[in-house]
Symmetry: C2
Subunit: 180 residues, 2 copies
């Protein structure tokens, strides 16, 4: 698929409800379970998505539109949530994500972007030249990637409980394997 | 995590809303996109989950409780949905899945299963001896695996649109790679 705002906005606008329907009110063992040391729980992932709303997608969009390739984006801190989410409940994080996402989609709509605008260029600190369309497509793919990750992390909590069915569920990981 | 009904039922009961919030009302290109020949679209996956409600989880639970290891489960048809979903809309499939899941969770609750019951044994046609707890844990992990798959299939529709960011999104697949 080529990127279009008509396809992208409906996905971006659904993510808060997807996260809420997946996670809200579940036992803590689902919310806080990880895939092992140095991996993220669903709680951590929601915090990471919040940090993206605050510092990444719309902030970079505005930098790109204002300064083009002359000003590289600020690097994104992938692990800021370990500090920022401390002491918060999942319910608070889900509410905060929903608020930030709604506000960002309003900011996006207010830009009245045209198809031509999607070809405008900015500079990523590592990847170099990128377009606005690529940035916005990445916002969508990043959401979907972390929804998939949450479902995978949850499923892996049952990698032993499923017994021999593990052979039919590649997402749970090969017995004794260490793949991510 | 060990399997428990207290942990499992909240996940099973959420899946219909998770699917609805991910998919309902999206442009067809998201609903019908696949990962290439002989792979499934989100529409196909919802149909597959419907077939599981009809012929797998609770049917096998009842066979196991009635006949133990003496009667192997009927093999599950993983691709029955290609015929069964024909001519239906996604909206119809989501409604049907929600109805079947709700009815199956009522059947499950009506069994008043004890912790001891979870060790009762049945016979899988390929895997051999399995326990009721393993069967029910697999129901949960199977849901989560297909939620992750739907998010992945959707994300991959943007594998080109994200441009150089693909390097940061392993779920989208390595450029030119064929891994699933």
């Amino acid at each position: 698929m080529n990127f279009s705002l008509e396809d992208a906005v409906p996905v971006l606008s659904r993510t808060p409800l997807v996260l809420r329907s997946l996670l809200e009110g579940l036992p803590e063992s689902w919310i806080r379970g990880t895939e092992g040391p140095d991996t993220w729980s669903p709680f951590d992932i929601v915090g990471h998505l919040i940090h993206g709303e605050r510092t990444d997608w719309m902030v970079r969009t505005e930098v790109l539109l204002a300064d083009g390739e002359s000003r590289p984006f600020t690097p994104f801190d992938r692990v800021a949530m370990f500090e920022a989410s401390r002491g918060k409940t999942l319910h608070q994080l889900l509410d905060l994500f929903a608020e930030l996402r709604a506000a960002n989609l309003l900011r996006l709509a207010s830009l009245n972007l045209t198809t031509e605008d999607l070809d405008r260029r900015g500079r990523h600190p590592e990847l170099g030249r990128v377009t606005l369309g690529e940035l916005l497509a990445t916002w969508v793919a990043h959401d979907l990637s972390h929804i998939a990750q949450i479902a995978r992390v949850m499923g892996r909590q049952y990698q032993d409980a499923v017994g021999p069915w593990r052979a039919y569920l590649p997402m749970l990981g090969v017995r004794g394997g260490s793949e991510s």
